[in-house]
């Protein structure tokens, strides 16, 4: 038996220099339609296979670049935008990429109205007004008019997200009949990015090949990229060790990495936070909230059990996003915490529940609060159960993760700080709503900052907002996640992006 297997010989090891094999959990990839996809792996796919009007600037948050737009302008105090495209652009199919395709794609995303569509519809678009608000003036000019003023960088940020990807209208034409071609595009490709779809087997593998029609692709060194879905981090580790894959994206433990491999880390826009439900009699006392903020040793947790997974960030605006400040506001102070609890009359402590999916962190919080005689009872659940309890406001304390929808401070401000209507009939159940906490001034400041055209004034508004938030909010932001990948040393040029829509395959090469 063993003889047979040895003689079967070279099980083709990791492929040649033109092919990259990457192990990644892509089981949440359920559709390839850029106007409908919302999951991280899917966004990464769309980022590399489709193009958009704008791209986020790699190093300067709040600034933008473009592959297809020559110049862009804003006028009418932030309500109208003009984009002028380069003349000779093509899709992978060979069809020309014109302003009409841009307009088609944006209108389609809004009409389709799937999960990510709110990124566009929040600017006042709906299926009626897009006919005159998003138009192609000529073959290379796109004009977009918003219903109200917003800060341009906010609008541009949303244009960089995959929902605004440009799809080939000609290719999609025969399939538009029922659902704007959603069923077809979920399993097919109609883009113009440097890589194009070769094959997708759901839950198994995703294969991309170089798109010769794309101008940037001439710089690309890899002809083929194979993404294997491997759920178990240990299996990814194993395969990386044996050289059967080049990059492992989801390793958990970074000790004892395989030989000849390196870690590549990047800060993501994902925040881990602790929510204290204000309808709980203990947690609604400001002294208790402040005490809890002082009971947690943030740095110790980030250095030990969550090492290589997080960095400390206590502000609701992620690090590296414009306006982020006061990231290290609270320090661990047991004595102060106990004093605060005593003033509130709780020196004997009390009992409280904690709903969480990440049990490492939950248990860390449990033992942190136990120092002040607060008995925490952990209620574990998977992400669905935790989310369901959160939305139902059925918890005392809860740990969750928030991923920003786009890289503008407005995204997280709305999520964490605003709560327009605290009743159960609210149409905007933000994180603050779920915590039963309402601070009306924050709603006002958020709207103001959204419309502020001067970037310096805007940054100042967010700064003061963050400071106030840190002082009184019952949502305690703890950490910001770090994504770490491990790559084989023969791979170079792999750039992890802050968001899943910024991890670029273009410059990867194998030695």
């Amino acid at each position: 038996m063993i003889g047979i297997s040895i003689s079967l010989g070279a099980f083709a090891k990791s492929a040649d220099k033109q092919t990259l094999v990457m192990a990644q959990q892509i089981d949440n990839l359920i559709t390839l339609d850029p106007a409908a996809l919302f999951e991280t792996a899917a966004q990464e796919y769309a980022y590399n296979t489709y193009q958009r009007l704008l791209n986020p600037h790699k190093d300067n948050p709040g600034q933008f670049t473009s592959d297809i737009v020559r110049t862009w302008d804003v006028f009418d105090s932030g309500r109208s935008y003009i984009f002028r495209l380069f003349p000779k652009l093509y899709f992978a199919s060979g069809n020309p990429l014109t302003a009409h395709d841009v307009v088609f794609s944006l209108r389609r995303a809004i009409r389709l109205n799937k999960a990510p569509a709110f990124l566009l519809t929040q600017f006042g678009f709906d299926s009626q007004n897009i006919e005159h608000r998003i138009i192609a003036v000529d073959n290379t000019t796109v004009k977009i008019s918003l219903s109200e003023t917003v800060a341009p960088s906010l609008f541009y940020s949303c244009l960089t997200s995959p929902v605004a990807s440009i799809v080939d209208s000609v290719l999609l034409q025969p399939h538009l009949a029922q659902d704007h071609g959603h069923m077809w595009l979920s399993k097919n490709y109609a883009g113009s990015g440097p890589y194009k779809l070769h094959a997708w087997q759901a839950n198994n593998s995703l294969v991309l090949v170089k798109n010769e029609q794309n101008i940037q692709a001439s710089k690309a060194k890899l002809a083929k990229i194979i993404i294997r879905h491997i759920k178990e981090p240990s299996t990814q580790h194993l395969l990386l060790d044996k050289g059967d894959i080049d990059i492992a994206r989801n390793l958990l433990s970074f000790n004892n990495l395989p030989a000849d491999t390196t870690k590549v880390s990047v800060l993501r826009n994902w925040l881990k936070y602790l929510a204290l439900n204000q309808n709980n009699s203990y947690l609604s006392k400001p002294e208790v909230i402040l005490a809890i903020k002082h009971l947690i040793d943030y740095q110790q947790i980030a250095d030990t059990i969550l090492r290589d997974e997080v960095v400390v960030n206590q502000s609701f605006i992620p690090l590296k996003v414009m306006g982020s400040k006061y990231n290290d506001f609270y320090q661990y102070d047991l004595i102060k915490a106990k004093e605060l609890l005593a003033t509130a009359g709780f020196e004997a402590g009390f009992s409280i529940n904690l709903v969480a999916k990440n049990l490492k962190l939950a248990q860390a919080i449990q033992s942190a609060l136990a120092q002040a005689d607060i008995k925490v009872n952990i209620i574990p659940g998977d992400s669905r159960q935790v989310l369901a309890k959160f939305r139902a406001r059925d918890f005392d304390m809860l740990i969750a993760t928030w991923a920003s929808d786009y890289s503008d401070p407005h995204a997280n401000t709305v999520a964490f700080a605003t709560n327009p209507d605290n009743s159960s009939a609210s149409t905007s159940k933000t994180l603050a709503w779920r915590t039963n906490w309402q601070q009306p001034e924050f709603n006002i400041i958020s709207e103001e900052a959204k419309k502020e055209l001067d970037s310096q004034k805007r940054a100042n508004l967010y700064e003061s907002l963050q400071k106030e938030f840190l002082q009184i909010a019952p949502i305690i932001v703890l950490f910001q996640e770090v994504e770490t990948s491990v790559i084989n040393n023969n791979v170079s040029g792999f750039e992890l992006g802050t968001d899943s829509n910024a991890t670029n395959y273009l410059h990867i090469s194998k030695l």
Partner: protein, 326 residues
């Protein structure tokens, strides 16, 4: 020769069996439907993701339209996914079964013949271990040892990345690659199937060899063996011409039942070896709480199980009318 003495299965017994099969399947389906109704799980939530507004989730409950609706994992029809996954599982189960039979039956016979000697004790130990070990632990250990440390087998998965296109359609790789004359694919598929088949087959090996041993021992006690020995027949001939055929029927039923129970074991083995069969599909659907897929897989696997049981019952009735109808 007692191979087929008389097929005295009458019409009534036949109908009886079919009725039992029907009732069992019906109960299964009822049970599954009951589970889907009482389940508090909201399948739709994971589809749409976290939003601030109240969205009505389309896939809220298990939908029996289009047979179990769409999978949360792949966005394909669940039945389509199962159709893609079944050949993979069948290939794995068959390979495991072949291993179990080819090694297990001879071992069982040897152990019976050498009763209470060292070989017998070794086999009994093997069987005991086979019944006591948890199959997922064994797979993990096997993968660690044979893949990681010794590098005797290739990476987990059904084929190498070079052949990914080949498994996009449901097919039996080993058979079709031979038929196409595609030797590299055949070698690759064979190399990949070996370790999971060995692990999966171990439990059946324990069971089959133990039953073979038992049946052979029972036969050895019969009077005709002594008669044959007195007649001067060499033992090998006794074995071949009398004992084995007599145990064949019972052994076939054991093998059939074992085959069905392999499906249960494959849930774990496929999970760990990343084998894209129905077991992996089931465990992944459990992870995302995709009730449609879970219940569809349950029905498919259970139906196969019931069918195997039913065939065994029928075989018993057909071929050995002395078995009391309990």
């Amino acid at each position: 020769m007692q191979l087929i003495t008389s097929i005295s299965l009458n019409y009534k017994q036949c109908v009886n069996l079919f009725i039992r099969f029907g009732i069992t399947s019906a109960t299964l389906v009822l049970l599954v439907v009951f589970l889907s109704k009482i389940s508090p799980i909201d399948s739709g939530l994971s589809r749409v993701g976290d939003q601030f507004s109240d969205i009505s989730y389309q896939a809220k409950n298990v939908s029996l339209k289009h047979g179990f609706g769409f999978s949360l994992l792949t966005n394909n029809l669940v039945l389509q996914d199962i159709k893609l996954a079944m050949p993979a599982t069948f290939e794995l189960a068959t390979a495991a079964m072949l291993f179990a039979i080819l090694i297990g039956v001879p071992l069982g016979i040897l152990a019976a013949v050498n009763k209470d000697k060292l070989l017998d004790h070794i086999l009994r130990m093997l069987c005991l271990l086979g019944n006591s070990v948890s199959i997922f632990w064994l797979s993990l250990m096997a993968m660690l040892l044979f893949y990681a440390k010794l590098q005797l087998f290739p990476a987990p998965g059904r084929v190498d990345i070079a052949f990914l296109d080949e498994i996009a359609q449901p097919r039996f790789l080993l058979i079709s690659s031979i038929l196409d004359g595609n030797w590299p694919l055949f070698k690759d598929a064979l190399a990949h199937i070996m370790l999971p088949a060995l692990v999966l087959g171990y439990y059946s090996l324990a069971n089959i060899s133990r039953m073979t041993r038992l049946f052979v021992l029972q036969e050895l006690q019969q009077e005709y063996v002594i008669t044959c020995k007195l007649k001067g027949m060499p033992f090998n001939q006794i074995l071949r011409r009398h004992i084995l055929p007599n145990t064949a029927i019972k052994l076939i039923t054991v093998i059939l039942l074992s085959y069905a129970s392999l499906l249960e074991g494959s849930t774990f083995v496929e999970n760990i070896f990343m084998w894209p069969g129905i077991g992996l599909y089931l465990t992944q659907s459990i992870m995302v709480n995709d009730l449609n897929a879970i219940l569809a897989c349950t029905i498919v696997i259970a139906l196969i199980f019931i069918t195997a049981n039913f065939i065994c019952d029928a075989l018993y009735k057909f071929l050995d009318p002395r078995v009391a109808n309990v």
